[in-house]
Symmetry: C2
Subunit: 412 residues, 2 copies
Amino acid sequence: MQTLWEQRYAQRTQRIKSSTIRELLKFAEQRDIISFAGGMPAPEAFPLQEFEDAAHRVIAQLDGAAFQYSSTDGYLPLRDMIARHTSRFGLDITAENILITSGSQQGLDLLGRIFINPGDRIVVEEPTYLGALQAWNAYGAEYVTVPVDENGMEMDALEDALRTGPKFIYVLPNFQNPSGVTLSAVRRLRLVELANHHGVPIIEDDPYGQLRYEGKHIPAVANLDKRGRDDCELCYRGNVIYLSTFSKLLAPGLRVAWIVAAPEVIQKLVQAKQGADLQTATFNQMLVYEVAREGFLDRHVKTLRDLYRTRRDAMLTALEEHFPTAVRWTHPEGGLFLWVTLPEGLDTTDLLVPALEERVAFVPGGAFHANGGGANTMRLNFSNANPQQIHEGITRLGKVLEGALEEVIVTP
Amino acid sequence: MQTLWEQRYAQRTQRIKSSTIRELLKFAEQRDIISFAGGMPAPEAFPLQEFEDAAHRVIAQLDGAAFQYSSTDGYLPLRDMIARHTSRFGLDITAENILITSGSQQGLDLLGRIFINPGDRIVVEEPTYLGALQAWNAYGAEYVTVPVDENGMEMDALEDALRTGPKFIYVLPNFQNPSGVTLSAVRRLRLVELANHHGVPIIEDDPYGQLRYEGKHIPAVANLDKRGRDDCELCYRGNVIYLSTFSKLLAPGLRVAWIVAAPEVIQKLVQAKQGADLQTATFNQMLVYEVAREGFLDRHVKTLRDLYRTRRDAMLTALEEHFPTAVRWTHPEGGLFLWVTLPEGLDTTDLLVPALEERVAFVPGGAFHANGGGANTMRLNFSNANPQQIHEGITRLGKVLEGALEEVIVTP
């Protein structure tokens, strides 16, 4: 007799459902499909020559350190560099505040691991980042959702949500994945105030903060948390745990990201990471450090901004031209995504197969809703296709939407 | 007011203790200390030129694929290569049976995540791999221990342990970390028989299987599980989940390892990995594939065997010369470690500070005991020091042991 695996899984494994959408989206990888489904950077912007030169320098270190085990908290020169960079943006921290993670997805997982008891409530935006839900479902999290409008999380709804006694607030303030909206400066201050009032810490997830294509930079939520320290404007208070990554600035295929937190939280995270994967690859941490350290990153980010601004604009223009008037979408000031809302009653999941038949792909928005809803929404990525492809893809998708809307009108 | 983090951690975080030993062992990294504490390969054996050439080829791929996101299950050519390699060793599997993990530590974590409910019992060897305990403690595992002698897990004790209704049996059959002992062929067959009889799956952890310095290769436990399939000698039955890694064969700093399991288990692991770190670094998987694919790995393993055999022999010789006669140790046929047992009543934890003062380090054995005990044991690594260092280090450690033994005799 064979092992009956279905009988042996942990309860938390029952929460992991195989997803029809995920299966369908595998088709989106086919070469002739124009995919707005993923969250992938433009590969033509990867700095291949810089990686090659850096790899040469890192490997040439005679003691083979790049290929050896290294410490769980991360490569110290890289942590120092991130600390200096963060300080430049107005938050005084040191390497002690930083843990290197194997992508921000691992950061979310480790935070779930050290904080979430089964049944703990987490305040999340509606919609929110799907990967955070995937990470925290494994620890038995429950969610309290706060709607998002064009200025981010709605503060009155947040105030209500905080009355449920949540473990923490999870927010993506810049060009949010999936909606593309940005939390306004006024609301950031209010968020900090409310969080402090209720004594609830914040997890600020900021993968795209530097990829702004218009408007002025708004300080991170972590920078705004100043309570009780008027004497020290740049001090890091620790109540906001901040995550960012090199995935969108350099390359996601290296899996190097970081968490900023109070040293005592970093220590717990380090212990959790020992059990999770021991350490992030030494070679990759050194590679990122070598590429980023001499000011290359600043120049590269400028290139990315120009590239992605053009693509965002191409998508916005195409949407105006080819999407039915009953359909609305966000105007992101940065990041990789925009968010489309169809009239109520339409379900974007039903449109995925017709869209794939037209050789274009998107992600139905329901998956980004922690507690259901959002059937009439979809996420579109604009970083991974060039302007011609964007124009062609939106034209095709527009036809699918036209068809769906007509059907609704014909069969009410 | 600051967040009182201590109040906010999950219950599972309480099980993570900060370890005095871990703190002490940080001293072992100092340059003038001869450390037998880590489990590090010899860095001088890392194939730097091969890595450099492979990095060049991988980066030169025009589409930047090495730096892009890739699938959670792993790089298909690498999974195919591992499947071919495993088939060569007598187990017919395909890429569908393989998940690439970010080191074997992640493999252990993901297995814990999909299988372990709080309170579930796991059968482990006594002593066993510390990292497995670290991974599974986070999921609330309890342990049933089975003593190990010079032929590995004791089968009568295993039979008793199986009566407790465990979730799975965890075994390191080859040159076990920490004890260095090997599970005999006879016992492997008995293990499979007992596991089948009780309907309990096995997790076989085999990081060192190819690093054998004497004696004949013994088939993996996964290869011996043939029940009900006399028609198909090489078929993989799936009841034994098998883990291995490139950490000891190529380099641990790349964090590339793999799990072999039934396709349905692999699918659950893939879903768990999506939440844990999305994917193992694309670049690293391609790098390992490029280095390993043209037969280099076989040649390189021969080099490693010669190198480590010499070091093992140097340590065994030095132990004979410099350790007190009341002390016993194992004679590993491969791997990286041997295991030292002092007379009862001595506590190796007490010897760590004196040893560090003599500029030599080891790991006290207690940490490898899931349910306590083993105070009079220690683990010694022989792969990371050269023969001269080994001789000098064992001489120093011998003195520390002599001193401790004298003290026991003087103050009974």
